[in-house]
Amino acid sequence: MKSHFNDTYDKEIEILKDAQSILENEDISKENLLDNYKILIKNYKKLLKILKTISRIGDNQQHRLNSITERLGRYVSYQLFKKITQGKEKVKIKTTRKKLTVFFSDIKDFSSISSNSEGEALSTFLNLYLEEMTKIINKWGGTLDKYIGDAIMVFWGDPYFISDEYHALRCVSMAIEMKHKMKDLQKIWFEQGYQEPLHIRIGIATGFCTVGNFGSSERMDYTIIGNAVNLASRLESHAEVDEIYISHETWGLVKDKISCAPYVSLDIKGFHQKQIVHKVLGFKTNEKSVENTMMIDSAEKGIKVEIDFAKAEQDTLQKIVKIISKKLEN
């Protein structure tokens, strides 16, 4: 690289050498010295101009590169984007085995809805749905594997691994928030004139998967394969509308914080044995889903509360406290 640099600036290096040799020459006349000094000044000005231009071009190229990188980043998960741009991800066909928690969701009967809708309306509708769901995925730190039409596939545990419990809880918490978000979206769509409310189904499973780059040396996909992927996908198909089905292994990791309905054993395609499946009811009493949110979903005790402290006004919260205090006094 050094020799290339010397080649690029060969003229300037030559001028400096000449100036140096003149200085070392004791017999040089004042006139000659002044002439050479003028040449040096002239070239210095030229060099400064080149430096200014190249610096600005360099900054401009960097800006261009950043905006290209940012655009490309929208085609991969945030976590993978970060890993690649930090130079930590080697772009080669390589996979590893890891325990992951995998999430699948889809909109029930979306195919029949899409066949009866105009393309533009459908894309507006689908993009709003995916936009809102993706915000929730990013909030909970999931690695968004892909959108498959209206279906979403997300996983936890790679590229960053924390703990199995952490991943499973983040995943289920995300699913609960998505379920609540769907209610907001259903209102919006109803206002927009969609007669039939749209519903999602969610399946979650935990287990060992093969994760990494699959494909060819020219085109590869960072994704996962394994039993947990198949199970999460199957659970999603089995799930009732607007419900979350989790595998027994996921349940084992979140059971202290998430309440579920009594389990059922289901025959699931692709699995020889019946699979124990849990339907998520919500966070257990007093469990905080996020720092800014309080959710209590304990139907058997007659309590169902959801407060978003980021949105709720102080007055409203005080009124709720007063009502509860009065009830307690009675």
Binding site: T8, Y9, K49, I50, I57, N60
Partner: protein, 127 residues
């Protein structure tokens, strides 16, 4: 003096210096490992060619990407053109930038802002 033509490669632009027509053109991306070596013949050609101040030259520059050492060479070419213009030589430089790409246009403006020879910034659609 003969015309100079160098084929385009993945990392170097096409050089088309037509002596008879007084038409010079550099088209493509420029990120050779050593820009000084790649442009050596072109710079020597331009230097000799511009010694005759009675030409009426059209120079098309359509470089879609260039690395830092190529940028240095471009500044040198522009200096040659400026000196030619200062000696009353006739020249028109067409600097092509990618349409809808502000950074590409900015590059052209940055390269040309200190020069006084006639030039035009022309948008083109990259295929």
């Amino acid at each position: 003096m003969k015309s100079l033509f160098i084929n385009k490669t993945k990392a170097t632009p096409e050089i088309n210096f037509n002596y008879e027509k007084n038409y010079l053109q550099i088209v493509g991306e420029s990120y050779p490992e050593n820009a000084r070596i790649f442009f050596k013949d072109s710079l020597a050609w331009i230097s000799e060619y511009l010694e005759d101040k009675n030409r009426n030259i059209v120079f098309d520059l359509k470089i879609t990407y260039l690395n830092t050492s190529s940028s240095k060479i471009v500044t040198e070419i522009l200096e040659f053109l400026q000196d030619y213009h200062n000696s009353n030589g006739k020249i028109l430089l067409n600097w092509f930038y990618e349409e809808d790409d502000e950074d590409s246009k900015d590059n052209g403006e940055i390269f040309l802002e200190d020069h006084t020879f006639p030039y035009e910034l022309i948008p083109f659609l990259d295929e």
